[in-house]
């Protein structure tokens, strides 16, 4: 394991901590070409960061499932009736 750590540092100029800090910018495609290259180079030799990135992305996807594309019609009607009554009061 120690050998792999040394190899990772030597080959990528980025540590896993630095990679973790850049994940959001990477996913937004906001890294400079050089930083993006460094990021991707690190991923090539660091399975831990590959898995970190995969699970980070999965978290975003899972959070997206909390979206509600409708609201109960009864709730909608109640809110609107209240608003209308206030406006006419």
């Amino acid at each position: 394991m120690a050998q792999r750590i040394t190899k990772t540092k030597h080959l990528t100029n980025k540590t896993c901590k630095q990679i973790a800090a850049l994940v959001l910018a990477y996913l937004n495609d906001e890294l400079s070409p050089r930083r993006k290259r460094d990021f991707q180079q690190h991923l090539k030799i660091c399975p831990d960061c590959v898995n970190f990135l995969k699970t980070y992305k999965k978290t975003i996807q899972a959070t997206g499932t909390l979206y509600a594309d409708d609201m109960p019609s009864k709730v909608r009607d109640n809110i609107w009736q209240f608003i209308r009554s206030k406006m006419r009061a």
Partner: protein, 239 residues
């Protein structure tokens, strides 16, 4: 049945991820572009209604209510931790305010952003007054690193290949909703607006009166916390 369970029972599982899907590809996600475009288009079609609203047209308010109430209700509900009664009252406040103060809308931001701002402010204000919110320390669920910058706990386990259907299960969604509710209120608002509603960082910054940089910081921290919670849920280290 708790308020959260009541909510969870009626939210629908989005078949298509609202943010670019996580999977085998590690390429950057061209995230939120579609959602942003949709918001912009929706905003443009509302221009006439906004002018009528400024003139005090009740029918215009009803149309704007029909167009925007579902997404605003969802935002309020998420920020308020699933309290449907409070979310209803927030929506009432938002549209009453929109009607009374429509003339104050200058068009410097999208109308939908203005509505999001009214909603988030009303929800956060209600949270502050209720004092129900209990924050947890993030630290336990954030990734940790050795002094040399490498992951402290190795190997980092890939649980992302858990079948997508799993996320539709009540248990996992309830866990996510609960974890979301443990975020600091502003962090939670950022995550909801970004990853649930699909707003751009710039729109979120305008909505919450933050810098774009602050939005990114809060979003990243919130996601890391949620990731840690999910990792533990799947039986792995949050680190």
């Amino acid at each position: 049945m708790s308020a959260e369970n009541l909510f969870a029972s009626r939210i629908s599982f989005a078949e298509t991820p609202r943010v670019s899907p996580a999977g085998a590809s590690l390429a950057p996600m061209k995230n939120r572009a579609k959602a942003v475009a949709k918001n912009k288009k929706g905003s443009e079609s509302q221009t006439g209604l906004i002018e009528r609203l400024k003139a005090g047209d009740e029918a215009a308010l009803e149309s704007l209510f029909k167009l925007n109430s579902a997404k605003l209700y969802n935002v309020a509900l998420r920020i308020l931790g699933g309290d449907a009664s409070d979310a209803e009252e927030v929506l009432q406040d938002v549209f009453m305010t929109a009607f009374r103060k429509a003339r104050m809308f200058q068009g410097n931001s999208q109308f939908s952003t203005w509505l999001y701002r009214l909603t988030v402010n009303a929800a956060l204000g209600r949270m502050r007054r209720s004092k129900k919110h209990k924050e947890v320390e993030y630290e336990e669920f954030l990734p940790k690193f050795q002094k040399d910058g490498h992951h402290q706990v190795r190997p980092v386990v890939d649980w992302s290949d858990t079948p997508d259907e799993y996320y539709g299960l009540q248990e996992t969604r309830a866990l996510l909703a609960q974890a979301l509710n443990q975020l600091k209120p502003v962090d939670k608002s950022v995550v909801v607006l970004s990853d649930v509603e699909g707003l751009s960082d710039k729109q979120i910054a305008e909505t919450l009166n933050l810098t774009v940089s602050a939005v990114k910081t809060r979003l990243h921290r919130g996601r890391l916390f949620l990731r840690g919670k999910l990792a533990v849920h799947f039986g792995h280290s949050a680190a």
